[in-house]
């Protein structure tokens, strides 16, 4: 792997320069002034050493002022996003916590009920069932639509560029979510759907229950995600960004295909994988629209996710219970994200 060092070092250099540039105007200005180079305040460039020292001392408050101004500018740039996040993200979250401890009446005085809603949710067998369904759904979703594309994307990179472009185009088809969902309702219909036709007429299998089976329903709900895998596109884009010289150097060293994958491709993909994994965990834990439209949670609650049950509670005007369940889900998802952040190394060079 020694052959990798030069390009890696070459890539780090500009980054390191940039980092020192970003360290702050104060140090840079002082350093430049002491060295008698350009960049200092007027009057310090041609003076004696003492003047230089004075110049340095006068440069400090100026650059400090600049730094404060930059901080202010930065703060102002961040402020809209911060206020937006505060009002639409953190405030509702905080209120959800508050509401979950009340009886959440619509237009009547709200009363503090303590942990009553949490108790109801804790003792509701359907809550446990919904979490189990969500966990299986998430595992299937991550396994089939998150992990497989990594392998497929790596393999596809071995194909001619023309083929790669076509594959990327196919995956990037801008399909309407609701339109494809409605289409899948018909494709999955166990009596007249296309998939049944393929199963019985093409593959000569006995009629398949598809979504009508509690054992199969979650797999088939995840299945469309395999066909249109968005993550695959991102993996391929990342893989294309890896300098070819890495692989060439590895080949000179006699590295096999799998060795290259293990030591070059996967480490470079790691930051993207980490980010997408967080999205996949959050997205899977919040699965709602697709199962709702396809099965309504059936058969027998086998595809009712936590958010679907939460929605069910809302429809039954059980707002306090629904927010308590939402808090359960938030805590669980947050714990998973923290675990993922703790144990998943993002730095490709680590």
């Amino acid at each position: 792997m020694s052959s990798h060092q030069p390009p890696v070092g070459a890539q780090q250099s500009p980054g390191a320069d940039q980092a020192s540039e970003n360290r702050g105007g104060r140090d840079a200005s002082a350093g430049q002034a002491l060295a008698g180079t350009s960049g200092g305040p007027p009057g310090t460039l041609d003076g004696p050493p003492l003047d230089v020292a004075e110049g340095a001392s006068t440069a400090q408050p100026t650059s400090h002022k600049l730094s404060r101004r930059r901080r202010l500018e930065g703060g102002l740039f961040v402020l809209p996003a911060f206020l937006f996040q505060l009002s639409w993200g953190w405030y509702p979250l905080l209120m959800a916590f508050v509401i979950s401890f009340t009886n959440a009446q619509f237009r009547r005085p709200v009363e503090f009920t303590g942990l009553e809603s949490y108790g109801r949710m804790w003792n509701d067998p359907l809550v446990a069932q919904a979490f189990k369904v969500t966990a299986i759904y998430a595992a299937l979703n991550i396994g089939l639509t998150f992990m497989i594309p990594i392998i497929v994307a790596i393999l596809l990179m071995e194909m001619p560029k023309k083929h790669i472009r076509w594959m990327m185009l196919l995956w990037f088809l801008p399909l309407s979510g609701i339109a494809s969902t409605l289409l899948f309702r018909y494709l999955f219909n166990a009596q007249y759907g296309l998939f049944q036709w393929v199963a019985t007429e093409v593959l000569h299998l006995p009629p398949q229950p598809f979504l009508n089976s509690s054992e199969q329903v979650l797999f088939w709900l995840v299945f469309p995600g395999i066909l249109f895998f968005g993550p695959g596109l991102i993996y391929m884009a990342t893989l294309q960004g890896i300098p070819q010289s890495y692989y060439e150097a590895a080949e000179i060293e006699g590295a096999s295909f799998w060795r290259k994958v293990w030591t070059i491709s996967l480490p470079r993909l790691r930051p993207v994988i980490s980010m997408l994994l967080i999205f996949a965990v959050i997205g899977s834990s919040q699965a709602f629209e697709f199962p709702l439209i396809m099965t309504g949670g059936g058969p027998g609650g086998a595809s009712r996710t936590v958010v679907m049950y939460l929605y069910d509670l809302l429809r039954n005007l059980r707002y306090a219970d629904a927010t308590a369940l939402g808090v359960f889900l938030f805590v669980t998802t947050m714990a998973l994200v923290v675990i993922q952040r703790r144990f998943f190394r993002e730095d490709p060079d680590a």
Binding site: P125, I293, P299, L317
Partner: protein, 545 residues
């Protein structure tokens, strides 16, 4: 899933079936309208013309004769109420979450579909009423004598909406309820027995089997439709037992009568998996069943009567199906009330009245104006609009479409040309009028105070329906019923009713006595063989403590 019933109501609103109408100025003063002649500044907001909209534009009036008719009567009403303005709201009032949020935040339209606040679930709607999501309209209903003006068939159903002695809505439309729509032409062609008012689900099974041919299934049913076969025998009614000793006052017991329920479930499953006479899939909704019937993929479907009277040219209109076959509609499609139970239980088709809710933020003047205009739209406006439709189309099917076959208020039909019979045929209308005469079974709303506290939902019961109707193979139905009991009773343990034990026992006693009287008169065999023994064994001991 979104029910197509809601989408139908939306369609009705969009087409202005009820929205477009006028006012009866003469009746304003005679009705004792408060503040008539006074200028009161009021702005009413409604969504998408429901249940009435702002003044149509000149172009709208030119393009649509009903809009023109509406504009005329609205103009007259406005002259009597010069300070009233009507504005369009952008909030989708058919979305329960959006509507309840808007009401809570004080930004809801002035009027909205009252059933939406509780997700079309009667108990939830009553609970939402108690929580203040709609204005108390009792005073205005009395002032405008709404009860007196209702048709006899609608009155007892509307009265079920009384909540603790008050009314929190106004009636919007009436229909006789659900039944089975069937292809009469195919039934006759195949020499099968046509449905009769005393038919049972065993008859439905035979008929569906007989109608199944090639790619055509005998019947198309989705979740709630398949459940009707169980409801016919009162499975849920008999499994819900009063339990005043518990916090929630109710418990569930499906298991102890499992021998009675399992054959019903097995019959339903046999129709699907053995006879293969049912077009059913977990992904299907109401809209799919209607479309399948219209396409000819199924010969029977189960739904509200108003799906028969969809105007020609609309999606999945049976009238268009008949036109395609070049036959009168009454020769092609028939409608029959829900089958009776195998235990002799009857009256499974029950009429329904949908509601108009009023924003709790409206002041007295605004509520008065809203009520006044609503009633004009529903009465004189209805007549004017129906006349305009007849003049424009000369087709009674467009005049008496959707729920317009049986208007809510007395004396309106006589003022409009043609008749529902001329539109849809005598056979159909005879069945509809017979259904309208079915006495309304005692409803808990008549006897029990509305529940102020959160209630356990029936999700697990819906789960079982979807399991029984979709899951193939041999199911342990006894275990399913046990799970149903366990889950519901475990959930109920964490709920506390806001009704005291004394009040509950008193209400329950009245409720079950009314049931006894009702069944004794309307289904004596069921009363004697099923109801009375069940009552003595399960209810009486619970209530006598």
């Amino acid at each position: 899933m979104m029910t197509s019933r809601r989408s139908v109501l939306k369609a009705m609103a969009a087409s202005g079936v009820l929205a477009l109408g006028g006012s009866a100025l003469a009746s304003c003063s005679s009705d004792g309208e408060r503040g008539s002649g006074e200028t009161v500044d009021v702005t009413l907001t409604t969504y998408d013309g429901w249940p009435f909209g702002p003044m149509p534009t000149a172009k709208e009036q030119k393009d649509d004769p009903t809009a023109k008719a509406y504009a005329g009567v609205l103009r007259e009403w406005m002259r009597e109420h010069p300070g009233v303005k009507i504005k369009n709201a952008t909030l989708n009032v058919w979305d329960q979450q959006a509507l309840t949020t808007a009401i809570t935040g004080g930004t809801a339209p002035s009027l909205y579909p009252g059933d939406v606040i509780g997700g079309w679930n009667r108990a939830n709607v009553r609970s939402a009423m108690l929580q203040g999501l709609v204005a108390d309209m009792t005073e205005y209903l009395e002032q405008y004598k709404v009860h007196d003006k209702l048709e006899d068939y609608a009155k007892p159903i509307w009265e079920k909406w009384e909540v603790n002695g008050r009314f929190y809505a106004s009636p919007w439309i009436y229909n006789v309820g659900t039944g089975l729509h069937y292809r009469r032409d195919l039934v006759q062609e195949l020499g099968l027995k046509e449905p009769t008012p005393d038919w049972t689900w065993d008859d439905v099974r035979e008929l569906a089997k007989g109608l199944t041919e090639g790619k055509r299934k005998g019947i198309v049913l989705q979740g709630w439709g398949l459940n009707m076969g169980l409801n016919a025998d009162g499975m849920d009614f008999h499994s819900t037992i009063p339990a005043p000793e518990t916090g929630w006052n109710w418990r569930w017991d499906y298991s102890s009568r499992a021998d009675q329920w399992i054959p019903l479930i097995e019959r339903m499953r046999a129709m699907i998996f053995e006879d293969q006479s049912v077009l059913a899939d977990i992904s299907m909704g109401d809209g799919d069943t209607l479309a399948a019937f219209f396409r000819g993929d199924a010969a029977i479907h189960n739904n509200t009567v108003i799906y028969f009277t969809i105007p020609p040219g609309s999606d999945n209109a049976p009238a268009d199906l008949a036109a395609r076959l070049d036959k009168p509609i009454e020769e092609v499609v028939g409608w029959m009330t829900q089958p009776n139970g195998t235990n002799g239980r009857t009256a499974n088709t029950q009429g329904q009245v949908d509601l108009v809710g009023f924003s709790p933020d409206l002041d007295d003047d605004a509520l008065d104006a809203a009520m006044s205009l609503l009633l004009h739209v529903q009465q004189r406006g209805w007549v004017e609009q129906r006349k305009a439709v007849y003049e424009a189309t000369n087709d009674p099917k467009h005049v008496y479409d959707w729920a317009n076959i049986m208007p809510l208020f007395k004396g309106l039909l006589d003022q409009v040309p043609s008749s529902p019979e001329e539109a849809w045929g005598t056979k159909f209308m005879n069945e509809v009028r017979r259904a309208a005469q079915i006495p309304i079974a005692p409803n808990e709303a008549f006897y029990f105070p509305a529940e102020p506290n959160p209630a356990p939902s029936s999700t697990i019961r819906d789960d079982m329906t979807s399991r029984w109707t979709n899951e193939r193979g041999n199911l342990d139905l006894r275990a399913d019923l046990k799970k149903l009991d366990d889950t519901r009773n475990q959930q109920a343990q964490n709920f506390t009713s806001g009704i005291s034990d004394e009040d509950f026992i008193e209400a329950a006693s009245g409720y079950y006595e009314a049931h006894a009287a009702y069944w004794q008169e309307n289904a004596p065999d069921y009363y004697q063989n099923v109801y009375q023994p069940w009552y003595e064994q399960n209810v009486l001991p619970a209530l006598s403590g």
